[in-house]
Point group: C2
Chain length 551, copies 2
């Protein structure tokens, strides 16, 4: 905790200041936009950008993570509180803070129980499918705001022309900026890194342009909706909860806590690796948990580390969490200054920034890779994506976990087992399907290429029985355990049953090359005591000894 | 399908007849008792014992499985329909059949999609914890029936004396029979197998005794409750459903289908292994699905293969599913004959048979084994058992799956990675912690002892970085892949990122002894194309080559 502060050197300061500034410029439109995604007043998004990064700087372990509002977590918040409170209402804000508290408490608890391994519950294809599905949902949700009409009217192809012009115009500007602004800035003589970062500020510029347009022209009178009054001043530290809603918020809060952790870990990992920094998943749980509790206490909503913002923070030179503290301070200043200008921000422009932001999440590279490498991962990707689109974002998380686990158990249920033969004149034994290796009719040698656990041991038993049926003359079975690094209790039972079954059929069961850690556990088990055969250090020794015995 | 009938020999008939008879004698009290557990009229249990075994005989793959009512599935049925309909009501019976239809359709669908791997989702300790928890719930639920009073009165220590005497007396008789009857029968000259089977008929004898007592004495007038009229005649083939209840039955139906499959597979597997028969999990899904649909169509409720009954079927000589057909025929005869005598069966006696039956499920051997072999499995056992007791049987299934998967991911997140050194003067490389093997300061050799997948690849990356930090002088990293039989898409990405990171730090990344199937997949991946090092067939070759390059 605060390890970075103890070793702070003045040389790190310029990077942290510039990153702090740049991220603050991103954070103002993002905070307001993601509050809108969550169905909350815009100021809630700004509140959620102040205390959480400060608290994360104290407890988190990533140097460059930018913690605050994030599109997908906002979508999950909307899904959780939407059925309980009207969008933009006071109750919605109360429930959002309460939800952050549930998520934060969950994360803190998991952190204290050292459950960082939870980050391993999603495969990357499933995570990508979830992200893409969520991005599509978010983008579609913004189309009616972009066009300035209720959703029903969009389907009838009605639009509010001034809003639509402003919205689609902003969208076009943002898309052009995304494509060309960095190049233009470079052409203007900016060094490439600065140009790239400058291009990231396009949303803030478009938002400022939109506000200026509203202030100087009569668009307001034409019915273009704006964010409305943003109260000045810092959020108070208090927590208003609705006691009747605890039960309804429990499950969504748990799921949001889980996704906060997954999203943040994947962002932090990719950045930590670039600088060869170490990330401690249990510290991350604590840092994110504390950040969400802080968000709840300061009128915010669930927050997480955002990959896009953290990448800008990193690129803009952030060396330590001081950058986040500077961002938070700047946002606090913005709220302490007069906020009348923010009230004029046209909603269609904000919707355009959201759509462009989530377009960046439509990353399909992993689908291409998986298509040529492992098609079942493409299936998992598609199923998760469709799950989010068809069943909603909460069900999507559950579908994602189920699919990750399903793929895992399905793969585990097809373990690789090789029949081994001896390479003539050597001590080497190899898979007879890949090498010209000689087998003996009375001795079947199988190499099990998987750790044995409840998910695969029945399949392994079946494969062994199947090989025994095709090698009817075998009087001894030798299992080569080079690739077996663990055997769980379920597998121990199954092996003991196999041993009993072979004993009844008068077939010897021998083990060779059992690894140290496996042997340590097996030593006192019933399996070894009752083993209907012997234990050998090497396959060659086993083979020689068994054949001598058979003759 | 019906493979067994084509090859039927007359020699198999005596065993099938005796098993069919014995199981029918078990099935009558069990069917009525488990219907009571499910909160249904007793006759429903008899209906569920006729068509399901017949249909399973057509589609299933186990030769000795006895499909019909089973205690835990009945408990799950009660949990599902209890909140929707009064116990014993017509609606309860309709919903129970509907539930069997949902479960059966789920199983059929899974069978058609060849999802037999679903059987691998529970570890044995978790299954045992679930069974023990359910058995305790079932036994406690029967105590008030045993004592002849409502539950509230049991807590006030009130009992209905005649019922309690009858119930506790039956319980004592059944417990004595369980302990001593087989021995007594042997002492009377019966051969041991016959004596063991005879002892299994004690529940039927006690039930008959109870009926005789009710018929001949005035116990009825003293307020001892009986099962009441059991309508004579076979069940009609029809399906009355309550369309309003489909949504409420969907999730319980899915969970019941899942547990039907797990319970039946574990029973069938233990028997198939004894006779070295082959079990096809996808056929089992179809067989059990069809049996449950048949149960739904013939006025029954969810059914499954019962371990206790199947073991008796097996021991009594069942050679083929003909035994089950004989059982079904006998039960049909019992329903076609006058059923007035069944109406006199006293409920306290039935409760006693249930309690003794579930006592047999309190098998704690696995806890002892796991205690000395792997404590985390004891934790999973206890958590599942407590989950059933505290949250109910449905939540218990979910807790069980979550714990199995949690244990799996938790174990995967601590992969075994060994630093290798060369055994002096040999081509062999071994773990330096276990062997006196020599390392080189500029070459770090790591053997990864796990398949690489999303659940462990981050931990593997972390371990590798950690080893690199402790071996600062290493200019090359060699990964020995003997134990890696698969690399999924997520792991491929993580390895590619590790490769990029090492490239930036000017550390070579080499792979040795990559297995055939892994190599087949990797061949066209970006990882190999961009690999910041070489690929070697053996560790010794890699070691020699890299050291030559470094000099």
């Amino acid at each position: 905790m605060l390890h970075w502060l103890k070793h702070y050197r003045r040389a790190l300061l310029p990077g942290d200041i510039s990153a702090g500034l740049v991220v603050a410029m991103m954070m103002i439109p993002q905070g307001m936009a993601y509050a809108m995604v969550a169905g909350l007043p815009p100021v809630v998004g700004l509140y959620a950008s102040i205390m959480p990064p400060v608290v994360y700087a104290l407890f988190g372990s990533s140097m460059t993570q930018s913690v605050g509002p994030m599109a997908i977590i906002s979508l999950m918040t909307a899904a959780a509180i939407g059925p309980l409170a009207a969008p933009g209402s006071t109750l919605a804000a109360v429930l959002a803070a309460q939800l952050a508290l549930v998520a934060g408490a969950t994360l803190l608890l998991c952190g204290l129980l050292r459950m960082g391994f939870l980050a391993n519950f999603f495969s990357r294809p499933v995570m990508s499918g979830f992200t893409v599905g969520s991005a599509i949902v978010i983008a579609f949700d913004q189309v009616h705001t972009l066009l300035g009409v209720p959703i029903a009217d969009v389907l009838k192809l009605h639009v509010h022309l001034p809003s639509a012009l402003l919205g689609v115009g902003s969208l076009a500007l943002l898309l052009l900026a995304r494509r060309y602004l960095a190049g233009v800035l470079r052409a203007c003589g900016l060094p490439p890194p600065a140009a790239d970062i400058g291009a990231k500020l396009a949303p803030m510029l478009v938002v400022l342009g939109g506000i200026a347009l509203m202030a100087t022209t009569g668009l307001h009178n034409l019915g273009v909706r704006t964010t409305g009054t943003v109260p000045a001043g810092l959020p108070g530290l208090n927590l208003a909860t609705s006691s009747a809603h605890w039960p309804a918020l429990l499950q969504p809060g748990l799921l949001i806590g889980f996704m906060v952790f997954l999203m943040s870990m994947s962002a932090a990992q990719s950045l930590a690796q670039k600088r060869n920094e170490k990330l401690v998943s249990n510290h991350e749980l604590i840092g994110l948990g504390a950040a969400n509790v802080a968000s709840a206490l300061s009128g915010g909503f669930p927050v997480t580390g955002s990959l896009s913002r953290s990448a800008v923070n990193f690129a803009a030179g952030a060396n330590t969490p001081l950058a986040s503290l500077i961002t938070a301070a700047l946002l606090a200043c913005a709220l302490l200054a007069p906020t009348g200008w923010l009230a004029l921000l046209p909603l269609p422009v904000l919707a355009a920034t959201i759509i462009v932001a989530v377009l960046g999440m439509l990353e399909l590279g992993i689908v291409r890779t998986a298509w040529s490498y492992d098609r079942s991962d493409v299936l998992a990707w598609a199923a998760t994506c469709l799950g989010v689109l068809a069943l909603g974002v909460e069900a999507g998380v559950i579908v994602g976990v189920a699919l990750s686990m399903g793929t895992l158990i399905w793969r585990a249920s097809r373990p690789h087992i090789a029949v081994l033969g001896r390479i003539a004149g050597s001590e080497h034994f190899r898979n007879i399907e890949r090498y010209p290796a000689a087998t003996q009719p009375e001795l079947l040698i199988l190499r099990i290429d998987a750790n044995l656990f409840f998910g695969n041991v029945e399949s392994v038993s079946e494969r062994i029985e199947c090989e025994l049926r095709t090698h009817q003359s075998a009087r001894d079975l030798l299992l080569v355990m080079t690739a077996v690094s663990s055997i769980d209790t379920t597998a121990l039972y199954a092996l003991a049953e196999l041993n009993q079954s072979l004993k009844r059929r008068k077939i010897g069961l021998h083990l060779a090359e059992v690894k140290g850690p496996v042997m340590d556990r097996l030593r006192h088990s019933d399996l070894l005591r009752d083993l209907n055969g012997k234990l050998f250090l090497s396959t060659a020794m086993a083979c020689d000894h068994i054949q001598t015995g058979q003759q």
